[in-house]
């Protein structure tokens, strides 16, 4: 089983030189820590920044510089500031190459639910609906099962959805999976110490198991 940090590390291997990337709140934010320094990418924050840097030193904290998770941040040389309309013009216009975000549920057709639990949670969708309806490539980072043990990889989402047929890949604590265009979770890699049987058991949606399933490589 992978820790949150290891999920982030595995996702970092999907990143290619020259990409503009939007990282969601939670595990996706951790991905930034594992991008190799020789790969140059630019992180977009939908509140109006291209070029997110590391968290600042205490003395450099600037309340006028935050990310979309409202965390204080620094900026890197070559960064730029813009308003919210311009920010989503970038996202909607397909200029952001990769979106990595968390989810409460993913369906075997790539639908995603991550913004609402009826009667319980009403925080809102923030920028997630814009991101998933527009991004060229969407990777979901999440636990394979919820805290009470229910699979989060489903035939269809039970929660109100954020977007339809948009997720391309999912990295969980148990596995790396790809959405099959005609439906189904294709098992690409399994976490060290996790059997295919366990993944089958914990995947409520249709799991497609190819002949070869590699172990996730975290080096």
């Amino acid at each position: 089983m992978l820790t949150k940090e290891q999920i982030a590390k595995r996702i970092s291997k999907e990143i290619k030189h020259g990409q503009y990337i939007n990282l969601g709140i939670g595990i996706p934010t951790l991905v930034a820590n594992y991008i190799p320094s020789k790969i140059e990418v630019v992180l977009q924050s939908e509140n109006g920044l291209l070029g997110i840097g590391p968290f600042p030193k205490e003395m450099d904290v600037d309340p006028d510089l935050i990310n979309a998770g409202k965390q204080t941040i620094s900026i890197i040389p070559g960064s730029s500031i813009f308003d919210s309309a311009q920010s989503f013009a970038m996202i909607r216009g397909g200029h952001v190459d990769l979106t990595i975000l968390g989810a409460m549920e993913v369906s075997e057709f790539g639908d995603i639910a991550n913004w609402k639990i009826p009667g319980k949670m009403v925080k809102g969708m923030g920028g997630a609906m814009d991101l998933v309806s527009s991004a060229k490539n969407i990777i979901v980072a999440m636990q394979h099962c919820s805290k009470d043990g229910q699979s989060k990889l489903l035939p269809t989402c039970t929660l109100p959805i954020t977007g339809i047929r948009c997720v391309k890949k999912i990295v969980t604590d148990l596995a790396v999976l790809e959405i099959n265009p005609s439906g189904g979770f294709v098992l690409l890699e399994r976490a060290p110490g996790v059997t295919i049987e366990e993944i089958k058991l914990k995947t409520a949606g249709n799991l497609i198991v190819p002949n070869q399933v590699l172990e996730i490589n975290l080096d």
Partner: protein
């Protein structure tokens, strides 16, 4: 140059009354019009409709309006971080219209730009699409969304001049420039107010035409929601 200066936040908001529809700049607590918020709290106006990306936190920003029950309806994309808000919402004391953040931004820009409606992919196939026209362009589905305007837009900039020109700093920009365009009356508070001509015309983010009143704010707290540092 046309002069837009008013003396104080109190003077700026004097004609905002019960039932007004307000846009308020800021993302979380970053770039919010702190002085106007204080002045409105003192006035205790009621039944406000507020268009703002967030609803502040329990004890700061728009959260203070919620505590005083000044808000009838919020139009926002994300209203977490606020227990009192969640309580009022679940109990039905407050209406809320949740709008995808990019759609919210574009609707505000459209309102200010005289675009009555536009198509966007955000929300297709979700609850957000209920009751909205769906239309296919080039094989992809889009929703029809309408422009938004407000009686007053309350915004916060870094620098401004007496002609109403504004410059923002860092991510405190966010929704402020687009809301400036969409208020029938736009009130800008700035950290530093200079005479017209004191700003470089090429560096101005919001041209003065969009601003009806401007004043130099004071005592900015700039609270931080998630202070995160590296060592």
């Amino acid at each position: 140059m046309i002069q837009k200066t008013v003396k104080s936040a109190e003077e700026a908001v004097a004609d905002i009354s019960d039932g007004a529809k307000l846009m308020m700049g800021g993302f979380g607590l970053c770039g919010i019009p702190e002085n106007c918020i204080q002045a409105l709290l003192k006035k205790e106006v009621q039944a406000l409709t507020i268009i703002s990306n967030n609803a502040g936190v329990d004890n700061f920003g728009i959260g203070l309006f919620l505590k005083k029950r000044m808000v009838k309806k919020m139009i926002s994309s994300y209203v977490g971080e606020n227990a009192e808000f969640e309580r009022q919402l679940l109990s039905g004391e407050i209406e809320v219209d949740l709008v995808p953040q990019g759609t919210l931004a574009e609707r505000i820009r459209a309102g200010g730009a005289g675009i009555p409606a536009f198509y966007t992919p955000a929300g297709v196939g979700t609850e957000v699409a209920f009751g909205k026209e769906t239309r296919t362009f080039d094989g992809k589905q889009f929703l029809l969304e309408t422009g938004l305007t407000a009686d007053f837009a309350l915004i916060k900039a870094w620098k401004g001049d007496t002609a109403g020109n504004l410059i923002f700093k860092g991510t405190a920009m966010n929704f402020n420039p687009i809301m400036a365009t969409a208020g029938k009356i736009t009130i800008a508070e700035v950290e530093e107010l200079v005479p017209a001509g004191g700003l470089n015309p090429n560096e101005i983010h919001t041209p003065g035409i969009f601003v009806q009143r401007i004043f130099q704010g004071k005592g900015y707290e700039k609270r931080i929601e998630n202070r995160t540092v590296s060592f």
